[in-house]
């Protein structure tokens, strides 16, 4: 799962936005990304979109992965995308996962979220997707 050693490691923020306390999935993904060679910053629980964007900018992250299981994904992703625009940080790739219905998944992608991973996605799928997405975005 190692990345190409020629390339600098991907810096990614894994975040738990909102009030949802279920972080098993977020932590498993954070660890799998770290094991694949990424530099991972995990925000911990109960983060506001403002805090997440501030962390990502401060950490010079190339991507933000959001995990939401509470059903608040539409409001939270929209707020994140707005804040990225306001901070002129649209080069940061956004992806997410959790319990997100199919219709919302498509709606979020239409708004500019890179990918939504739902139950059943493997950590390898997420790693591969992120490597491609960050690579494409930096070109």
């Amino acid at each position: 799962m190692a990345q190409n050693p020629q390339l600098a490691p991907i810096r990614v923020v894994v975040a738990k936005p909102g009030l949802d306390g279920h972080d098993r999935g977020a932590k498993v993904v954070a660890r799998a990304l770290r094991d694949s060679g990424c530099e991972v910053i995990y925000t911990g629980l109960h983060q506001s979109p403002e805090q997440i964007i501030a962390t990502a900018i401060q950490e010079d992250a190339q991507a933000i992965g959001l995990s939401i299981l509470s059903g608040a994904h539409m409001s939270i992703f929209e707020r994140i995308l707005t804040l990225l625009k306001e901070n002129n940080a649209q080069n940061i790739v956004i992806f997410g996962g959790g319990i997100i219905p199919e219709a919302d998944r498509q709606a979020l992608k239409d708004k500019g979220v890179g990918e939504i991973f739902t139950p059943g996605a493997t950590t390898q799928e997420i790693i591969t997707w992120l490597q491609n997405a960050v690579g494409a975005n930096s070109k």
Binding site: L19, K27, V28, V40, Q47, A72, I76, P119
Partner: protein, 497 residues
Amino acid sequence: MVLENPGEYPYTRGINPSAGVWTMGQYGGFGTPTETNARFRMLLDQGLTGFSVALDLPTQLGLDSDDPLSLGEVGRVGVAIDSLADIEILMEGIPLEKISQVRTTANSIGYIWAAMFIALAERRGIDPNKFGMFIQNDVLKEYVARGTQIFPAEAGLKLSVDVIEYLTANIPNWVPLAMSGYHIREAGSTAVQEIAFTFANAREYLDRALLRGVSVDAVAPTLFTFLSSNIDFLPEVAKFRAARRVWAKLMREKYQTKNPASEKLRIFAFTAGSSLTAQQSMNNVVRTSIEMMAAALGGIQTMHVSAFDEALGVPTEEAATLALRTQQVVAFETGILNTADPLAGSYELERLTDSLESDIWKLLESIEKRGGALECVNNGYFVNEISENAYQLTAAIESGIKKVVGVNVFQSDSAPFKQFEINPASESDQVKALKQVKEKRDNKAVQESLINLFNVATSGENIIEATVRAVKNYATVGEIVGELRKVYGKWQPTKIF
């Protein structure tokens, strides 16, 4: 092999001499109090003997529905409760005295929930001992597994003990603490960690309650434990037996209990949400049937069966009803209730029970050496142990070592799925209702009762009576928690993974 008897110490084979039907409790609640009230009436009509109130995340975290942090979360994973006015609507037309057990996910706000139902009972002129209230109130597991912590752990623990102390003295018919292993297991722990971490947490509450002068034989008989019933069939049956045996010995040997009821562990089993899959979701009906058989054979007292669509969202009414029917089929058609602990004497079951018991004791001793549960919450030991096992479980599924039908073996396309729709107007309706409550109430009385609450909290005394006073004046959940935040400060998130 010499077998123990059901209903006799150490209660491995059950807390009663014979098998009996368990309380069938289904977890539910969403949207506004009015919407949830309608669903509860429907479930009661279908023959439920106990039920539960799922709370939305803002309520569980002590935020009002109009708080900026509540945006998009109001009424999502449970019902929104802002003030006593919402409890009055929630319970309208439901005779409290006819319900054996109302359960709730109030943990960090356990004291507010208790205060609201004390106030409701008083307004209805009912002795609160005439009905059953089951308050989860296990705040320590929030910091390690469930995530609705508000204050630093020491303060959270203090408030949970306030509830235990007050209810033990005044309303002994209520369950003041559900020692919760379910969420620890769902966060990825092993079965041994599930029991050991839970009992270690329970010891923190008990030890502090005893320091306040509560007698162990007054508090222990009121407790329940809330455990997962997972897909590993025989080890799960053995787990319920081992948990009872460890608890009985813990009570008798460490706490010198004299009342046999203190030694009888009452178990609320909940089928494992994390064992359900989004793929081929009808398979979940089979999984939960097997999981509930394990719980039934393990001799539990109360049970919830998860709906097959839980991996996809809030259960639909159809799926919630099927989950209840699953319980009824197993209880009334299979003859499973003819014998207490019918698997006793099976070589493998007895071996598993002994082995789990021994591992649970070892882990309990190790936690004690590390300074006890509060220390293990604060220093990250519990969290790290759970995360490590969660990662191993994911790796085992991804590598195919652990087989999951429809996920890594026998995959196929799933049929399209009907999903539960949250009423999009619920959030704005609830915010409007909150505004009306604030306009109608006596705001001077609210302020006075909040200042009183602040003073009582600052003094370190039990805050339940002060909370009841504030609640009766329609002080909101957010106002009460805001006042206490001035005293206790805020929990700081841990960033380890």
